[in-house]
Assembly symmetry: C2
Homo-oligomer: 426 residues x 2
């Protein structure tokens, strides 16, 4: 296997400024060592001709093991879905379920050109760390913290997760703290989380302002909107990735800007659950880092970041009635560079010398790529994720010619299916 | 090649009522002769195990040859896009361009599980009819009529198209009349179109109420909204497929209902061009047949009906803030049964004994189909169109195992690319 010292020759390359050039990309160890012309004689060569090289897509908000509940409960109201169908099954999940659920998610992400993800789920996040290690992906993991039952124990889990895994696998595994949401974590608990996280220098991953119910309950319980409540707990001083941010007042956008909070926009999930439309053009105009996420597979229903990128571009246009909103290159920046920033990753998310070699080669032979006037536009508006041909993370090839190199897909599907059937009694 | 007398064995089958059963589908000639159990010994068998059989998807509004302009001009305002970039190139299109543009569209539609399409474009629609004939697809074609230059000549073209092609290729080619829109066809011209169409018993395919500008201009010029103007011309008495219908008053919805107008909803194009969101849940509640279309590839930017189906389901939910709006089975009905009704096709769009054998088999082996609790939901919310494995129209296999049976894809891409490059000077 060609690995860790190779050149991708003659690909169309998405540059950090959003332009596209034909170039060679030289990879040495885990980094990009050169982009441009130059002699490739004697090099291990991956033929990039007819392929479009972009930074790997970054899923800035998901719950990987929820793949187990994909299409188990669709077309329901949010609370029926969550309380009657999802939570009772989640209560039954074992360590083994978490592992195989995340393993299937890893296959799906690699196959779709995703190279990194921010994951929040329940117990046994060390199993997700194991999947990150084995798959070759990058994962920013947190223990989802719901204070009501065993809040202190869960917080201790997150501390242990951080101590055991932050920086593991050559830095591919990182750890954040995961207070679930304001309606599951009262301010006193958030203060405790902030204290533990800041002791370790850890960042925060939290659901914020997803539904109108959440906003209304916050105003009822605290007399303030969620960002106004949480900012007073000091939590945002740790550095924060805030998922959803659908319903925002101007004052809350100002808190987001001032506290340098990174937003994970989840258009597919927000549409499917009818949560609403996040004001991403306002956030971007305010200089906020808006990344993209799929949310869990039971509310999306996949982990397809290319689809999310297209939805972000389309939804912003129709929401603002402005066809110039979130053009293709900006949508790709949100899915890559801004994704890396959202996860707190340095030197990731751009095809640039010295950056980590996290690269996707998209096969442009399909009819939906013809004529080929503008690869970035074609990727966002026309292609689908089955065009992901080669996926490289940290200089290592995870998929080539759509063949997985690190994971045993058939075994994973078999074990995963057994878990899903046992959990749901199907 | 197994053809015209075969059985699809052991597939999951989407029934007309939206439920899914495991069954055999027997095809004899151009029709479905039986669905259910029964002896398959001695039959030509297509192995349907692990596959999901649905009616072919029906693209109720497109401009096939516009594939030539895919991603030639993106992220522009509607009028800059149309007047500065699209129309000048369209003026240069030759007979050869129309043919190869439609041929590439046919490849793309078959590969995405589309079996029929309603097409409106400029001169030389007989070339599109030729592509329909050769590809094995169904096409409902019309000559796009813009009155300003040579309006009578164009109308005569449409009459000739009807006389020469309506009912051709075992009924796979049908013809409508194509008055482009109210802003390109004044009422007097629409009266002429209505007269010619009704003489032949032909139906109408027209853009209606796509943008706010169109509505405002109609009110300014005629003192009425577009449907109120057009209904007085008698055009709708011919039977009408109205594309877009984004901005509608209650009085217009009542005209649509009363005149049994079928609507082609184009969510992708309406989002990308920032036209607005069609009130599909109101239309459906009024009993209107709402089908789905991609619009042309230069405003979508593909002909992927599965993507359009998902967008229809997602957009209706977030627009109404109701997660129960347009559930998966209804979205599939819009993309199939309602599509057939929109095109005026009888015995098409349902997997039912006596109906035309227009069938797609979706390969459910991919990870995005796991776990497999609900194939209809998985198809709409999780799968992508690369899962289209086998496509059958009129009992004839157009694709099997993703291999095209009627069209030479490589030759089409080569000829198409030459046309696109010449047209755009690239």
């Amino acid at each position: 296997m060609i690995d860790n010292e190779f050149v991708i020759s003659g690909a169309k390359v998405l540059m950090p400024d959003g332009t596209v050039d034909t170039a060679n990309i030289f990879v040495s160890g885990d980094k990009i060592s050169k982009i441009g012309g130059g002699d490739i004689d004697g090099c291990n060569v991956i033929d990039g001709r007819g392929k479009f090289a972009t930074p790997g897509l970054i899923n800035a908000h998901t719950h990987a093991s929820m793949t187990l509940l994909r299409s188990y409960s669709d077309d329901k109201s949010l609370m029926d879905w969550l309380q009657k169908d999802i939570w009772p099954i989640e209560d039954k999940m074992t360590r083994r379920d978490i592992y195989w659920g995340a393993a299937l998610a890893a296959v799906e992400m690699i196959r779709g050109g995703t190279t990194a993800f921010a994951d929040m789920y329940g117990p046994c996040m060390d199993e997700v760390a194991k999947v990150v290690d084995e798959s070759g992906l990058r994962g920013s993991l947190c223990r989802g913290l719901i204070s009501f039952v065993d809040g202190d124990k869960k917080l201790a889990d997150n501390v242990a997760l951080y101590k055991n895994f932050h920086g593991a696998a050559n830095g591919r595994v990182t750890v954040m703290f995961g207070p679930h949401a304001i309606y599951t974590c009262p301010p006193d608990y958030l203060r405790k989380v902030a204290a533990e996280a800041s002791k370790l220098g850890a960042e925060i991953h939290m659901h914020m302002n997803e539904t109108l119910t959440e906003i209304n309950d916050s105003i009822k319980n605290y007399g303030k909107r969620p960002f106004e409540v949480v900012v007073e707990t000091g939590l945002f001083d740790c550095g924060t990735l805030a998922a959803h941010c659908v319903h925002l007042s101007d004052a809350e956008i100002e808190i987001i800007r001032r506290k340098k909070i990174r937003v994970a926009h989840n258009p597919g999930s927000n549409m499917k659950l009818a949560s609403g439309i996040s004001p991403v053009t306002k956030l971007l105009a305010a200089g906020v880092t808006v990344a993209l996420g799929t949310d869990g597979a039971s509310s999306n229903n996949n982990l397809d970041m290319l689809e999310e990128t297209r939805l972000a571009a389309l939804l912003a246009k129709v929401d603002t009635l402005n066809p110039l909103a979130v053009p293709a290159a900006q949508a790709l920046q949100m899915a890559t560079d801004f994704g890396a920033r959202a996860l707190g990753l340095k030197s990731v998310g751009r095809l640039e010398v010295g950056c980590k070699a996290d690269i996707v080669l998209w096969d442009m032979r399909g009819v939906e790529w013809q004529p080929n006037f503008n690869p970035a536009s074609l990727l966002v508006y026309s292609a689908n994720s089955a065009a992901a041909d080669t996926v490289i993370v940290d200089g290592k090839i995870l998929m080539q010619g759509r063949e997985l190199k690190t994971l045993d897909e058939q075994k994973i599907i078999a074990e995963f299916t057994a878990c899903a059937n046992r959990l749901t009694g199907k």
